[in-house]
Symmetry: C2
Subunit: 167 residues, 2 copies
């Protein structure tokens, strides 16, 4: 059943392969503007976003665990303070989701991933973030390559929604 009001929200797909084509600066700025207005748990807004465009850095970051960055037109790497991992991860989830929806609203595809294990420290070095910071999450932006959208199996509503008492 279609609902026009929520079409955009339902339409987000993870993409991990992109065309070799840049995205316009105006669209990128709008994605960052939307990120700017994302609410965060502490409202301290202590996070930053590092915009990565050059291929060599994107390739090196891909090897830190977020493979789809290797094809992205632009990579957005979130830098958090590195003090409360659970809370920062929550905020990063909110920010990532917003940035991906802002991309989609403008016809740009996206994927999100985490740097893994030692990859976090290496990614932190690559972008020059402070030693105490946490570099956990990156969003890839680009135009979707043909057939690049991942499958969309989802559980039926009844399987994940309960009324008050868990079942």
């Amino acid at each position: 059943m279609r609902n026009e009001k929520t079409d955009l929200l339902r339409g987000l797909r993870a993409v991990r392969r992109f065309e070799d084509r840049p995205i316009p600066e105006a669209e990128l700025t709008e994605i960052l503007e939307v990120a700017r207005w994302t609410g965060t748990a502490s409202n301290q807004q202590a996070w930053k976003v590092v915009v990565v465009r050059d291929r060599a850095t994107l390739d090196a970051l891909a090897e830190c665990g977020v493979q789809h960055l290797a094809q992205a037109a632009v990579g957005l790497v979130i830098v958090s303070p590195g003090t409360i991992p659970e809370l920062e991860a929550f905020d990063e989830g909110r920010i990532s989701e917003r940035m991906m929806l802002a991309a989609l609203a403008q016809g740009i595809a996206s994927g999100v991933g985490w740097f893994k294990n030692g990859g976090r420290a290496r990614a932190r070095e690559l972008i020059g973030a402070p030693a105490a910071s946490a570099v956990r999450t990156a969003v890839s932006l680009g135009y979707s390559a043909p057939g690049a959208e991942l499958g969309r199996h989802r559980r039926p509503l009844a399987e994940f929604v309960s009324e008050r008492s868990y079942s």
Copy 2:
């Protein structure tokens, strides 16, 4: 500068006081539908959402640390497996953001909060979630009380965006 494509995404405000007025079932179902299609890190979709409507349970949950639930028309409590806190928190951030945007798209206000310390175990008991699960995040839904929107100070773009090298 206004951008129609991303109006919805820019428009989300945290609300913590709600009118004493129910929200329609169709709108609630649509919010849960949007949640259903949220991508999650593992794609295991191991989380659940518990819908809480009765005032006594909402009041009791509010005392577990998410105070705005006391006035919410409906509370949506996310139940995660309780195995990898950081990753689950990330997914909960994504899901919360989606649910709040789906509410906004339909004119419904929302707030999000975390259960704190011992409040997590108490909230888990209140909704009857499994002992091993994590009950961390709740979203309050309702119609915004007059003057209930929180302030919107945000840092300028230049303060949180860096080009490749951190500064």
